[in-house]
């Protein structure tokens, strides 16, 4: 009964390898995007906060443009556009590049906001004890700013995980497209979409709760 054609459990079992492969793609694209996006976003955030004006202007332009266009357009643009520059990339990497470009702008804006929310007195006190600029940033400003970065950063990270579903549009077989391919074979629309939905919900909700708990622990550092 359960192990019969047309039953969800059976069909799920049949599709298990392709679903797992899709899951792995979702995980790897999310991971790459968040790592690349956060690293470059941190640098760009520092440029926004401390850069000389031409650099700061370019960074501001980049951040505001990227934040003003839909992620899907970015992905499609990267997918069709990169080829024009004779950069031959797979849809997978076109997607990772687009998602990372998006992630960078959001992280940069978060980092800038956090740095500028550290009271000016902190920087002045660091100057007063004779710390040079880089050490002030490294030992005084960033440790305080990064705590404020955590909640919005987790938010961005979750957006990126959800954003990887858009890669299905350019044919990257992540979890959503893998589910749709399964549906195309067995026509169990509700069951497979529901399964994918629940999967995203459980993972993202868990991460969000974990981050919230972490943030509560940090709260005692507030001043």
């Amino acid at each position: 009964m359960i192990f019969e054609r047309g039953h969800f459990i059976y069909e799920f079992w049949v599709a298990r390898f392709s679903l797992l492969a899709g899951l792995w793609t979702t995980v790897s694209t999310s991971f790459l995007t968040i790592v690349i996006g956060s690293a470059l976003g941190l640098v760009l955030g520092l440029v926004l906060a401390y850069g000389i004006w031409p650099l700061r202007f370019l960074a501001r332009f980049y951040v505001d443009v990227i934040r003003g266009i839909p992620l899907l357009v970015l992905i499609l643009f990267a997918y069709y556009g990169l080829a024009l520059f004779k950069i031959s990339v797979t849809p997978y990497w076109a997607g990772v590049i687009a998602l990372s470009a998006f992630c960078v702008s959001h992280v940069a804006e978060t980092v800038r906001g956090a740095i500028q929310s550290v009271p000016a007195g902190q920087d002045e006190a660091a100057k007063a004890i004779g710390l040079p600029f880089l050490k002030r940033v490294r030992y005084v400003i960033l440790p305080q700013a990064l705590r404020r970065v955590l909640p919005p950063w987790v938010n961005t990270a979750l957006e990126m995980v959800k954003g990887t579903t858009l890669l299905s549009v350019i044919g990257v077989v992540e979890l959503l497209l893998a589910s749709q391919q399964a549906i195309a074979r067995n026509y169990l629309i509700l069951q497979f979409y529901l399964a994918a939905t629940l999967f995203y919900f459980i993972v993202n909700f868990a991460i969000a709760q974990l981050a919230a708990a972490l943030e509560r622990r940090f709260r005692r550092f507030k001043y």
Binding site: I69, P70, L71, V73, K86, T165, V169, L176, Y193
Partner: protein, 222 residues
């Protein structure tokens, strides 16, 4: 640009399509925001002041929507509703329904925060002059709440407008879909996508600028 020769004539020839697509996206965003605002208000009140049996579903709704990818919801509604025996929604309606439910969860959070941030004193003053509960909400709490949350509502409208791009996935002829179509028909990759990008950027900032003016007009300085 490695030897890429721009040819913008294909854009001019398809300009009507782009404009229609832009207006369709904008319309879907606005309608979704309106329905989402209604849902958000009800859910925010249910979570804040509702009976216990209502708080829980409200919480689940908000957390569910916010933690599931929008594209998945779009497919779920578009392909799933007929499976549940609900027919008769065309692509646009199906997408607007999805985006409204999506907006509702985010607006609920905005309103919940807004309601929580209103100083108790306003409600007490309203009680002290003898306003009844619904009157207190109608004349004091809601007007103040909307003014406080106006910046967040603006941000949500801009986000929703950008989210209408996902309607392309179910072949709704909005901007992204149109750009992709022009791209496919003419092979003018840069022109198609630069046009779509520019139109998104322009509209997103236009919405933001116009609503910032509205915000200034209605700012509540506390």
């Amino acid at each position: 640009m490695l030897n890429y020769n721009f040819n913008w004539s294909v854009i001019w020839r398809n300009w009507d399509k782009f404009v229609d697509a832009l207006l369709l996206g904008l319309g879907m965003a606005v309608v979704s925001l309106l329905i989402g605002t209604l849902i958000g208000l009800l859910v925010a009140y249910a979570r804040g002041a509702g009976p216990r049996w209502l708080r829980w579903p409200a919480f689940v709704y908000v957390e569910f929507i916010r933690n599931v990818p929008l594209l998945l919801l779009v497919f779920f509604v578009y392909f799933g509703l007929p499976e549940l025996g609900i027919y008769g929604l065309d692509k646009v309606q199906s997408f607007v329904l999805t985006l409204s439910l999506y907006a509702g969860a985010y607006m609920a959070e905005v309103f919940r925060a807004g309601l929580a941030s209103i100083p108790r004193g306003y409600a007490e003053a309203a009680r002290a002059i003898g306003l009844r509960p619904l009157q207190r909400q109608r004349y004091v709490i809601l007007p103040v709440m909307f003014r406080i949350t106006l910046p967040s509502i603006t941000n949500n409208l801009v986000s929703l407008f950008k989210d209408t791009s996902l309607a392309a996935a179910i072949a709704v002829p909005e901007l992204t879909f149109t750009a992709r179509q022009v791209n496919a028909n003419t092979f003018r990759v840069m022109e198609s996508w630069l046009t779509a990008t520019a139109l998104y950027l322009f509209t997103a900032y236009a919405i933001a600028i116009v609503l910032r003016l509205v915000e200034k007009r209605y700012a509540v300085i506390r």
